[in-house]
C-alpha cells in the first residue's frame, strides 16, 4: 500500500512540477523499457542505474513503466517475430555468434527472440516516445495540472512523509 502511495505521489509530483517536460519525457522513455521488455533482464538493471544516476524524472520512468507494461504484453507476438527474424537472419549470424561467445553478454538474454525484439523496438521507439511524452506533459501542465494543484488530494500527497524519500531522486 505504501509503495502504491509513493508511486502515486511521484506520479503527481512529476506531472505537476518536478523537472522539466524534457526530463519527465526522458524518464518515460527509459521507463518504457521496463514495460516493453521482459523485466528480469540485465539491460533493465542498466536502465534502472541510468534513471537513478542521470538527472531524469524517476516519476516519469515509473509512469512509462506503468503505461507500457500492458503494451508490452500485447506486442509480445510482434517482438517474438522481429527477434526471430533478426536472430535467424543469415547476414547477422556472424555478429550473433561473436556476441554469444563474449563473456557476460549472453546473460542479457539477447539471444531470446522476445528480449531482442522488444529491446530493438524500444530503441526504435525511444525518440517518438520522448517527443510524445514531452508534448503530453506540457499539455497536462497547461490544462489539468493547474486545476488539480490546489485540490485537497494533492495537498495530502505532498504532505506525506513518503514524499521525502522521493525527493532524493527528484530532478534538479
Amino acid at each position: 500500500m505504501l509503495t502504491l502511495l509513493k508511486l502515486l505521489q511521484s506520479l503527481f509530483k512529476t506531472l505537476h512540477s518536478e523537472g522539466t517536460p524534457a526530463q519527465v519525457a526522458t524518464g518515460v522513455a527509459l521507463g518504457a523499457a521496463w514495460g516493453l521488455t521482459p523485466l528480469l533482464n540485465l539491460h533493465n538493471l542498466g536502465i534502472a542505474a541510468a534513471v537513478m544516476v542521470f538527472n531524469v524524472s524517476v516519476g516519469g520512468a515509473m509512469l512509462g513503466w506503468l503505461l507500457f507494461t500492458p503494451v508490452g504484453f500485447l506486442l509480445d507476438p510482434l517482438f517474438d517475430l522481429v527477434g526471430r527474424r533478426l536472430l535467424l537472419a543469415s547476414g547477422l549470424e556472424d555478429l550473433w555468434t561473436r556476441l554469444y561467445n563474449v563473456p557476460v553478454l549472453p546473460w542479457t538474454n539477447f539471444n531470446n527472440s522476445v528480449v531482442l525484439g522488444s529491446v530493438v523496438l524500444w530503441v526504435a521507439g525511444l525518440v517518438p516516445i520522448w517527443l510524445l511524452a514531452r508534448w503530453g506533459v506540457r499539455r497536462y501542465r497547461e490544462t489539468w495540472g493547474a486545476r488539480l494543484e490546489g485540490t485537497p488530494l494533492m495537498q495530502a500527497l505532498k504532505a506525506s512523509k513518503a514524499y521525502n524519500w522521493y525527493r532524493l531522486l527528484r530532478p534538479e
Partner: protein, 646 residues
Amino acid sequence: MKPRVARWRGIIPLLLLLLGLAVGYLLFADRILRDTVEETATKVLGTQVDVGSLRILEGETAIELTGLEVADPFDRSRNALSAAALRVVFEPRALLEKKVVITELLVAGAGVGTARSRPAQPADPGGFAARTLGQVRAWREQFDIPALLLPRVDTLRQLALDPAQLATVQAARALGARADSLRDALEAGVRAVPVAATLDSARVLLARLRGQTPASLGLAGTQQAVADVRRLIGRVDTVRAHVEGLGRAAATGLADLEAGVRAVDAARLQDIEFARGLLRLPSFDAPDLGKAVFGDVSIDRFQRALYWFALAREYLPPGLDPRRRPGPKRLRLDGTDVGFPLAQAFPAFHVAVGQARFSLTGADAIEGNYLLRLSDLTTEPALVGQPVRVSAERLSGPPGAPTFALGAVLDHRGPPRDSVAVAVGGVRLPGFGLPQVPFRIEPGRSDSRLFFRLAGNDVRARWSLRAGDVRTLYDSARGGGAAGPVEALLGRILATLPGLEVEASLEGPVARPVFRVSSNLDRVLSDRLRAAMGEELARAEAFARAKVDSVARAQLAGLRVRADSLRAEGTRRYDEARGRLEAERAKLNEQLVRLGAQGLGDVFQLPRLPGIPGMPGQGRDTVAPDSVPPDSGSGEQGAGNGTPGE
C-alpha cells in the same frame, strides 16, 4: 538555468537497489536455481525431475544437490535414476558466457529403479520429450503381438459375419458390374454390325439371278450381274471381319471375367482368414508363440533404448548451426532462445568428466558397489570433437554376486551413430507377467544382455535372457478364478520347463524394423499346444470356413452362372452369324461360277479366334467345355429370330 546531466545523489538508491538484489540472492538464489534445474531437466528429459535441496558454493564455482530423483518415463511410480547427493563443479570462464561446462561430477548414493513416494506428474504434452515418448509408444504399436488365448467352444457360435465386410462379396459385386458392362458392350457391338441387312441384300440378289444364265442376261447384263455379286461378296467379307472382331473382343472380355471369378474364389480364402481372426484363433507356430509370450517384454527393452537415443539426438545434434530452443517460462511470452556455437569456444553444455560411485542394495537391485564414468557429454559434439562415452562396472560385492557391465557411445560428430551394450550376469531379475494369460514368470538368477545400435536411421538390436531356475506363478487375480484348458496346459508346460532362453532381435529401418522373438518355451509350447488343441483348432477353423462359405458360395455360383450364360450366348450368336454369312457367301460364289467368272476363289481361310468354343481348329484357353450351361435364351436382344443384328 540548464539542468545538470548527472544526479550523484541517485547513487544512494542505486546502491540500495544493488544491496537489495544481493540480499535477495543470498536468500533465494539456491531455491530459484533448484526450481530452474527441476524445470529445465523435466523439460529436457520429458519426465519429472525432483531436487531435494541445492546449495551454491560460489567460492568453488560448484553446486551441491541432494535428493535427486528422475522419474521413469515408462513407469511413473519408479525412478529411472536417483542420487542421494551430487557435487557439480563448473568451469568459471564458461559460466561468464552463460555456458555450463562441468569439470567434475560426483554422485553418491545412486539408485536405479527405486520406488517413488508419489507417482510422477505426466510430462508436458507439448514438449519435445513428451512428443518423443508418444512417438515411441506409437512406434511400438506397429509390432503385432498375437494373442495366446483359445476361445471357448461357445464363442464359436457367436461369430456373426456382416456380408458387406467380406472381400468375396465386395469382389463379386464389382465383377457383376463388369459382367453387365461386357454384356452391354457386346450388345452395342452386335447392333452396330449390319449382318441382317447384308444377308437380306444377298438373298435379294440371289433371287434376282436365280435361273439366269449369261445367255439370258446378255453380255451387258452378265457383266452387271458379276459386278453386283462381287460387290456383295465384298460386303459379306467386311461384315464377317466385323463379326470376327467382335468375337475376339468377347473372348478377351470373357477371359477377364473368368479370371475375376477365380479372384473372387481367392478372396473367399481371405475371408476365411478374416473370420478366423474374428474368432481370435491362435497360431501354434513357434515364432508367433514367441512373440505372444515374450513380445511385450522384449519390445519394452528396445523401446526404452530408442527413447533415450531419440532424446540424445535432439539435444546432442551434430554440426554448428544455430540451435533453437523454447525460451524460459515467464509471465510474458517465452519466445525462442537461439544458440550460436563457435569453434574453439566453450560449448553451451559440456560434462568433460563425470564419475559416480554408488552402491545398490535391495530385492530388485544388483547388489554391490559400482562406478559409472561419463565423458564429453555435450550439446555441441562438433566443438568437443569426441563422442560421448558412458561406462559402468561393478567394483565389489558379496561373494557370488552378479556381474554387471555397461558401455555406451553416442557419436554425433557426423551422422549420428549411437550404441549401448548392457550385460548382467547371475542377477535375480524382476519377474514379469505373460501377456493375456494369468501367469507370471520369475526368471530368478539370470544372464541378460542388451545391445542396441542406431546408426542413422538403421536399427540393429538384440536382447537375450538366460535363466536356469525359472519359477512360474499363477496369477488368480488376472485369471479370474479357475484356469481354462489352455491356461492349465500352459501352466503344466511352464512348471516342467528346465530353464528359459529368450532371444529377441530388431533389425532394419527404425520406422519399420523386423522384430523377431524366439525362446525354448515357444518351441515346447508349439508342439504341446498343437498336440492338445489341434482338434479344437481344426473345429474352429472349419466353423469359420463354413460361415464364410455360406455367404461366399452363393455369390460365386451366381457369378459363374452369369459368366457361363454370357459365354454361351456370345458363342451362339457368333456361330450363327458367321455360319449364315458363310452360307450366303458360298451361294454368291456359286452364282459367280454359274455366271462364268473364274478365279474369284471360293476357299476362305477362316481366322483363328481365341477362346470361342465351337470354332474349327481352335483351342480353349479359358473355359472348360462343361462350364457352358444350357442356353438360357432370356433377355437377349436379337435372340428372337436367332439372327444377330436383326
